[in-house]
């Protein structure tokens, strides 16, 4: 086999194709990470009757206690073990890229179950946001059913929310929980993980742009029943979403288009 033999020429062609691929990947314009968030990167302290409490996590892997920031009266260390507290759970910190941003509050109102709301804002890496089904299993929750719920909102089209019926895997008491989520970014919103991935891929490939997608999740751990949980979820979102969609409190921005 020489470079002039047919096999040599074929080998040369493969080397040229791979060499050009290597060059092309290096020469393509870099993907620009958008500075804009799809939503306001903060959760309001109050949503109607609901009062939002920030949650802090002990960073000691052996302790892992959580606290309401209000209860700590300025303390920044865990009252149980003295380790510093953080808004991120240690597992989340280890798993997610450093440019990921997260906001989280637990909303409480008298006579109603607590509702945990969190928003994860992706960074340049699509890994910042992954399918909720993965973390829910990691948190010991079992997903028993899923369906899309259209939540009616004032002055815009209904918001499609993926609604999961969950319960803890290792308990004899079968507390039923409702977990709702959707994604918003680049002027689009969808409850579908696959659609989000497709849009992100399209923007990266065609527009050299990576939008900072937001993954909004609402979890009612003790919903009582599916109907009661979905009603609570819809009720909170009707008041919360218009606030999140406004760039500054009280000035609504154009809502994203559902896909």
């Amino acid at each position: 086999m020489t470079s002039r033999s047919p096999t040599g020429r074929a080998l040369l062609v493969v080397v040229i194709v791979l060499g050009l691929t290597s060059l092309a990947v290096r020469r393509l314009p870099p993907v620009v990470v958008s500075k804009d968030f799809g939503l306001r990167p903060a959760l309001p302290e109050r949503v109607g009757d609901w009062v939002g409490h920030e949650i802090l996590f002990c960073q000691n892997e052996q302790c892992l206690k959580t606290f309401d920031r209000d209860e700590l009266t300025g303390r920044t260390n865990c009252p149980a073990c003295g380790t510093p507290l953080d808004a991120w759970a240690p597992g989340e910190k280890a798993l997610l890229p450093s440019d990921t941003r997260l906001v989280r509050r637990v909303y409480r109102a008298t006579g109603r179950p607590a509702i945990q709301v969190s928003i994860v804002f992706s960074g340049g890496d699509q890994k910042s946001i992954h399918r909720p089904q993965q973390c829910l299993r990691g948190q010991g929750l079992v997903i028993e059913a899923s369906a899309t719920l259209d939540v009616p909102l004032p002055r815009r089209s209904p918001l499609p929310v993926m609604c999961l019926i969950v319960r803890p895997a290792n308990r004899t008491m079968r507390e039923l929980g409702v977990f709702g989520y959707w994604f918003i970014g680049g002027g689009r919103e969808t409850p579908s993980h696959l659609k989000r991935l497709a849009w992100m891929a399209w923007d990266r490939l065609i527009h050299n742009r990576a939008d900072r997608w937001a993954y909004v999740s609402v979890y009612i751990p003790e919903a009582g029943s599916v109907e009661a949980g979905q009603a609570l979820l819809s009720g909170l979102l009707r008041q919360l979403v218009p606030e999140l969609e406004s760039s500054t409190p009280g000035s609504p921005s154009p809502p994203a288009q559902p896909y």
């Binding site: 074929a10 080998l11 493969v14 080397v15 791979l18 092309a24 890994k127 490939l205």
Partner: protein, 304 residues
């Protein structure tokens, strides 16, 4: 005039070596140093490391990934003489495959989908010998190269976990009642209806999902080596999911029977930890049985 001959012959023998080294270097550059743009902070740029990290993680669900390249390599080695005989002139149709692999690679890197990058590596692994040595070699390499697909982590299949758990617990309950052990299925839990009996929960790791991926790899290999026609190979391969589900039902059934006979603690402790052997033994028995049945039908048809 005789002097230039050795130089010319040296150049002739050195060039293919140089081109082969360049090809290997480019593959390492593309797939090890620039193959992944996903999760770079934690896993770096290597698509291979991205894949191996998943084999080692995911609760052991993908640990069979380590065996796949070895099996694939063995299959190539097994047919080495046929491969040597099949070598012919380059087949330029395969250039399309090389270009497709390059495009898939670029797409995967650009859109942060390392699975596409790994798929492009498999395409390149098949396309290069196809181009260099012709269609005969490519035909012999179809299965060993396609088998490498089992290396690619398909962790998104975990959405099947809950339906599989339901299926396994229902199937095991029906069989328990058939054996005269009264039991009830509630969701993914199996309760003995006899007083003081067992209560078992079919949890996520017991869904059989990890077994499905491993069984798919085992069945594909067995179908390839045991069945003579592609139709029968595909038929046997298509049976891998029912086989894995049935194997898991047998495993859960055996845990329940041990709980019934020897108590729940023994069943969910020591026995449960080693019950995966029951799964593989029963699933592989069913697989070989089905394989023999398919072969027998072939022989019967030949006689007719």
């Amino acid at each position: 005039m005789a002097a230039p001959e050795p130089n010319h012959s040296l150049r002739r023998s050195a060039l293919p070596v140089l081109l082969s080294v360049a090809l290997a270097a480019l593959v390492v550059d593309l797939y090890w140093f620039h193959g992944s743009t996903e999760d770079v902070e934690i896993r770096g740029h290597s698509a291979i490391r991205w894949m191996v990290d998943r084999w080692n993680g995911s609760g052991g669900d993908l640990s069979h990934g380590w065996l796949i390249p070895i099996v694939s390599g063995f299959l190539v080695w097994r047919r080495r003489q046929e491969l040597a005989r099949a070598v012919s002139r380059p087949d330029w149709r395969a250039l399309g495959l090389i270009l497709a692999a390059a495009a898939l690679y670029t797409l995967g890197v650009r859109v942060q989908q390392t699975r596409l990058v790994l798929l492009s590596l498999i395409l390149l692994t098949w396309g290069t010998p196809f181009l260099l040595f012709g269609a005969g070699v490519a035909r012999l390499l179809v299965f060993p190269c396609a088998y490498l697909i089992f290396c690619i982590p398909l962790s998104f299949l975990d959405s099947l976990t809950f339906p599989l758990r339901l299926m396994a617990s229902r199937g095991a309950t029906v069989m328990l009642n058939g054996f005269g052990i009264a039991a009830q299925c509630q969701g993914t839990a199996i309760h003995s209806t006899a007083g003081g009996g067992f209560n078992l929960e079919v949890a996520d790791p017991c869904s059989g999902l990890r077994s499905i991926l491993a069984m798919a790899a085992v069945t594909a290999l067995y179908a390839y080596v045991s069945q003579r026609t592609p139709i029968r190979q595909w038929l046997l391969f298509a049976a891998c999911i029912p086989l894995a589900v049935c194997g898991n039902v047998v495993r859960i059934l055996s845990v329940a029977v041990v709980a019934h006979l020897a108590g729940q603690d023994r069943a969910t402790g020591f026995y449960h930890d080693y019950s995966s052997y029951v799964f593989f033994a029963s699933a592989i028995l069913m697989m070989t049985g089905l394989g023999s049945l398919l072969n027998r039908r072939r022989t019967g048809q030949a006689t007719l």
